[in-house]
Amino acid sequence: MVAAIKRVPGIVYVLVALIMGFGWFIPGFFTVSNFLSVIRQGSVLAVVSLGATLAILSRGVNLSLGGVMSLAGVVTGVLMHRGWSIMAAILVGMATATAAGWLTGIVIAGAGIAPFVVTLGMMSVGEGLALVISGGASVPGFSNAFQVLGQGYLLRVPIPFWIAVMAFLIVHFILRDTQLGVSIYAVGGNEDAASLSGVDVRRCKLQIYLIGGILAGVAGVVLASRMNSAHPSGGMGFEFDAIAATVVGGTPMSGGRGGVVGTMVGAAIISIMRNGLNMLGLPTPWQMTIIGMIIIGSIALDALKSNR
């Protein structure tokens, strides 16, 4: 964790440079409304990235986050359209995502199958079920009360931001102050050694993917509220942005070190990149290309650093 703190400054400079750079070139970048919009969009990514970081810290990976997000959003949306109360719909949407995370964790921990394979499958299951439940079309138009979650303000700051802050504080607390947190670093650092020391490796893994499911659920519901529409492939791609945020934030794919502070900076960098490139008028394909190159660059940098 000390290592994580030492690494953060480097990417903070990147973040500041990015903001300054875009601000210089783009008229309208330094406006309150633009910042609020970046925050609103970035918050959803921040929440999912927390889930991705937990898996990567334990030397795993979670590709199912985006699919589970879509599923949670669609379940919530469909239930509200059927006249369920907002609260009940959200609860069931969240429960679905939690169950998906739990199932993923059970298979990974219980059967000892590689997280990459299991979560790749669960990504498909999540998206597939979202399509089935929604009948293949998006589920648009919700009550104002539901839209507040993704579009409203509290103390003049978008509500998704507060949700992301809450999620961050909880996950950060888990990593710093609980046995689960220490176990996650231990499993990522040296799984055999952790097991010999008495760490319950399976329970640790189960909890990682369970929490991942919950976070994906939160992100999915907030996304649906922000868009005022639950799209069956709304979460698609978030799992990769989340991995990118984690790695850019200084947690290597080999696990064992890093942490969620860096991931939040990583999520900010990616969100600001998106926003800035958008405002520059760069078409989406070019945005994808540039962001992809940044991800490879930061992984390469990490590899060079750790080889030294």
Binding site: A193, S197, G198
Partner: protein, 501 residues
Amino acid sequence: MERAVLEMHQITKQFPGVLALDKVDFDLYPGEVHILLGENGAGKSTLMKTLAGAHEPDSGTIVVDGREVRIRNPKQAQALGISIIYQEFTLIPYLTVAQNIFLAREPLRWGMRGLVDRDRLYADSTAILKTLGISVDPRSVVSTLGVAQQQLVEVAKALSLNARILIMDEPTATLSDQEIEQLFGIIHNLKSRGVGVIYISHRLQEVGQIGDRVTVLRDGRSVGTYNVADVDINTLIKLMVGREVMEKADRRSLPNAPEALRVSHLHRNGVLHDVNLVVREGEIVGLAGLVGSGRTELARAIFGIDPFDSGEIVLLGKRLVATNPSLSIRLGLGLLPEDRKSDGLALILPVKDNVTHASLTRLFPSFILDFRKERAIAERYVRDLRIATPNIFRQVGFLSGGNQQKVVLAKWLATQSRVLIFDEPTRGIDVGAKAEVHDFMRQLARQGVAILMISSDLPEIVSMSDRVYVMREGTIVKELEGEDINQETIIGYAMGKGEGQ
């Protein structure tokens, strides 16, 4: 005498194909250091793993504090006050010293499950380190510490469990003299507090320095327990070796044969220092030494898998100051690795592909495979080496260990290697196949091939070698010829007899 803290009676453990432990008795009293001595594979580690909860014995009883126990997992071992410090550290690299000491047993905040009290974590760690006289900051991250400090953290971790039985597996293997002094100081401290220490060692001089009693294991059997004061090193060496072996009938001396391989002053930081050796055409040279003495590392450096920092290699007349496997193969060197399944063969590919893998460019300079030629070559070696396979299309993974080793041999014969390094050529293969492999090695030598044979199997070294080099701690400590090639002499040099006494 007070009651033993640990008694092991008639412990037996069978692994597929090997009887690892055969009715072993062992005991330990509070406040003593009981040294466990034996060759590689004598069963020391297996015996300790039955205490650590890593293996359950097939039969026999373990009694702790007068109560018979069964130890099924590491947690149960901990609960009984048994702690083990493995040779490979079990510390987590990016956690702090304190987090490692209390891993999975963190002090809890407000007694709440799962909630770590970090203030107490660091306070308790500081206290433990202080009582042991270990000066390491509990907040430093383990990966930033040196090996010796990590070792001490392991000790602290073991003792924070209130261990009354502490097992140390070759704790001094990587320590400097000064660090060893410090460790011994801590062991004395533990003794005075009534902790019983089981100490596995490969250094004979340590028996007298730190031990109270010593037990020698050989081929999975206990061949005796002695008070250290009543036994000398030569007796211990005899006990470890035990069996007499047939002398090699035709040990040849070929001082005038051309040099096929010469290694001069080879150095690789922290691994190999000043290694010098010569292998002549037609000679079988044994490379003996304990596991971890640097034999495999030397083979890897010669073959070009690992780089070396200084020194040179002369291979069939070519001077090399750096090398790589493809260059070595082109010049006529072959390596039969220790772990043939992962390093020597492609298990899911058929016999024919494995045979031709290392010689594709030689056989097919145009880069286009000639299926008939490939087939003819594979069939020839299957016949010549009597590889038991239904046909050359069989996946190598389905063959027995002995036949797999023959396929590796065929691979190097196909490259027409003039120098072959065999790393543990007969490990894990049955007696019949072993004799065959030995025959092929002798035949090759007669045809002028130079062979460097690494082996932990002392009878194999003694019966096969024309000359023997003994390695210890990354360098060659002795060259043996003729009459001097016997098990006692070899193990004596391998374990540092005569050093530091």
